[in-house]
């Protein structure tokens, strides 16, 4: 049974590889995006860089990882919504598999493709061009990877909730777009958490947004250590559980609402 989910993930990963030109565009896209943001940080640091508590190098490292990976952690809410709308979802429900599980497998496959084939080369190029800070300790590296994996699960869970809205609301464009805008501003990719104003930070701390890029980046850069690392990881895990419960509730309620024409 587990094999079926792995197969879905593998197929989605290979699907990405089928379009070589898209792969090349994806790499170039990420390199340009990072280069632009690095140039912005260099320019603002040139004005009062020495007064900042966090170095330019650390801010660039945040840009390389968080913006680079945010390009890979892009969920496909619309295709599920499309299935719900057209009723094609009945095919998936009939399968002896958990629907959320299938979506997770497909999301992992897509993110895996983008991380390995698009992000890694782009990251290597940018690291050579702009440099980056080493991880705070030897242990920070595996913990960073673990934390980043949980960031993915947070984004996946939010995406799932967005898709399930289409049980009630025909067009989820507005919901997904506003969600993406919130992630852009609050996740810590474009504005690292150390540059967020206090009022904003207070909100972010109490929201799942901190569990996206701020959590793993604070581990890599050594802004947290000892037990606060564990606290951060536990908080991420709690958000995943909470969001998944929410998604599951929407799924159960939504399935009751599902009406398919022409049976």
């Amino acid at each position: 049974m587990k094999g079926a989910y792995i197969e879905i993930a593998r197929k989605t990963l290979l699907e990405g590889l089928a379009f070589r030109v898209n792969t090349l565009i994806g790499i170039l896209d990420t390199v340009i995006l990072i280069a632009v943001n690095v140039a912005i940080w260099k320019a603002v640091y040139a004005s009062t860089g020495t007064l900042q508590t966090v170095s330019l190098e650390d801010t660039i490292t945040n840009t390389l990882f968080a913006i680079g990976i945010s390009q890979a952690f892009w969920m496909d809410e619309y295709s599920i919504a499309h299935k719900i709308r057209t009723g094609a979802i009945t095919n998936d429900i009939l399968r002896p598999m958990h629907f959320g599980g299938m979506i997770l497998a497909a999301d992992i496959g897509r993110a895996g493709y983008r991380l390995l084939v698009e992000f890694l080369p782009a990251f290597a190029i940018c690291a050579l061009l702009f440099g980056l800070s080493a991880p705070a300790s030897a242990l920070a590296l595996p913990l960073f990877v673990l934390s980043m994996a949980m960031s993915f699960l947070v984004l996946h869970s939010i995406g799932l909730i967005m898709s399930y809205i289409s049980f009630w609301y025909f067009n989820i464009f507005s919901f997904v777009t506003i969600k993406n805008a919130a992630v852009l501003v609050l996740s810590g990719a474009y504005i690292p958490y150390w540059f967020m104003p206090d009022w904003m930070m207070a909100f972010v701390r109490a929201s799942p947004f901190q569990a996206i890029y701020s959590a793993p980046m604070s581990i890599w850069l050594g802004h947290v250590n000892g037990s606060s690392v564990l606290y951060g990881l536990a908080k991420q895990a709690l958000w995943i559980v909470a969001l998944q419960l929410c998604a599951q509730a929407l799924w159960v309620l939504g399935r009751r609402k599902l009406a398919v024409n022409g049976g």
Partner: protein, 276 residues
């Protein structure tokens, strides 16, 4: 208003026909009223998010390559205003891949009106116009006042000419990439990636970027002429660039659009359907 019958539509002059199409687009958009309002709001929020990022960065730092926050927001406003006007005119070219793939282009080709005219008229994403336009006007009014620009007739004329040229530059880009679609099949991904990045670069003073990044918005997608050079002139900056460049902007828009039009006519001659 009289109902438009096929006979009436045939005898309409292009302007009347354009507005007849436009009112149909509006009707289609507002068939689902709440959805239309929500979608406009979403576009507004999405576009405003990039402004918030700039705002928050410049709360922490005094300037960005010699430009303070209000000046950068002034620079930003041109992008939104020109896009708002451009998308009302060129939605058909934005969705061109889809139009070709669905075979709809063939339908347009057999109608007794120009293909470019039909593409410009038949569909307009007015929600995007509203969303971008609202951000653009808010930013322009607010930032122009904050930086203390005195609007004399010469400056107003300069601004209007710049906006027209900015719309033409982006329209030319959309048309040229639609031509690429005709030649090479789907090329939407290349286009979207380039367009998104160019717009992102153009939101900031050109002087902060290394040459490789600059050349994207100077030579590949000349966004620098949409907002950077004109805004710099209005703010009395040159940033070390040739001072004639802001005025060159007016030439570049019409010139690029003329080139794109020639390419378009040429590409349509070579078009053979997708085979439906």
């Amino acid at each position: 208003m009289k109902k438009s019958t096929p006979e009436r539509t045939c005898s309409m002059n292009p302007v009347a026909l354009y507005f007849a199409y436009g009112s149909l687009s509006l009707k289609a958009l507002f068939a689902f009223r709440i959805d239309a309002v929500l979608r406009t709001l979403a576009v507004f929020v999405r576009e405003f998010a990039s402004v918030i990022v700039v705002y928050l960065i410049l709360q922490r730092f005094p300037d960005l390559g010699g430009w303070n926050m209000n000046e950068v927001l002034f620079l930003f406003s041109f992008l939104f205003l020109t896009y708002a006007i451009m998308i009302a005119l060129f939605t058909g070219f934005r969705d061109f891949d889809m139009i070709v793939n669905s075979g709809k282009l063939d339908l347009l080709l057999i109608r007794p009106r120009g293909t470019m005219f039909q593409l410009m008229a038949y569909n307009s994403d007015y929600l995007a116009t509203l969303g971008h336009g609202a951000v653009g006007i808010t930013l322009l009014v607010w930032s122009a006042q904050a930086v203390g620009i005195v609007w004399n007739p010469a400056r107003v004329a300069f601004l209007l000419l710049t906006l027209v040229s900015g719309v033409l530059i982006q329209g030319a880009i959309f048309v040229a990439f639609s031509c690429l679609s005709l030649w090479f099949g789907k090329s939407g991904n290349v286009f979207r990636a380039l367009y998104r990045n160019s717009r992102k670069i153009a939101g900031y003073p050109l002087s902060i970027f290394p040459d490789a990044v600059r050349s994207i918005v100077l030579y590949i997608m000349p966004f620098a002429f949409v907002n950077y050079f004109p805004a710099a002139w209005l703010l009395g900056k040159t940033d070390g660039f040739w001072p004639g460049l802001p005025f060159l902007s007016w030439l570049i828009g019409p010139l690029l659009f003329a080139l794109a039009y020639v390419l378009w006519r040429f590409s349509l001659l070579r078009y053979s359907s997708t085979g439906h």
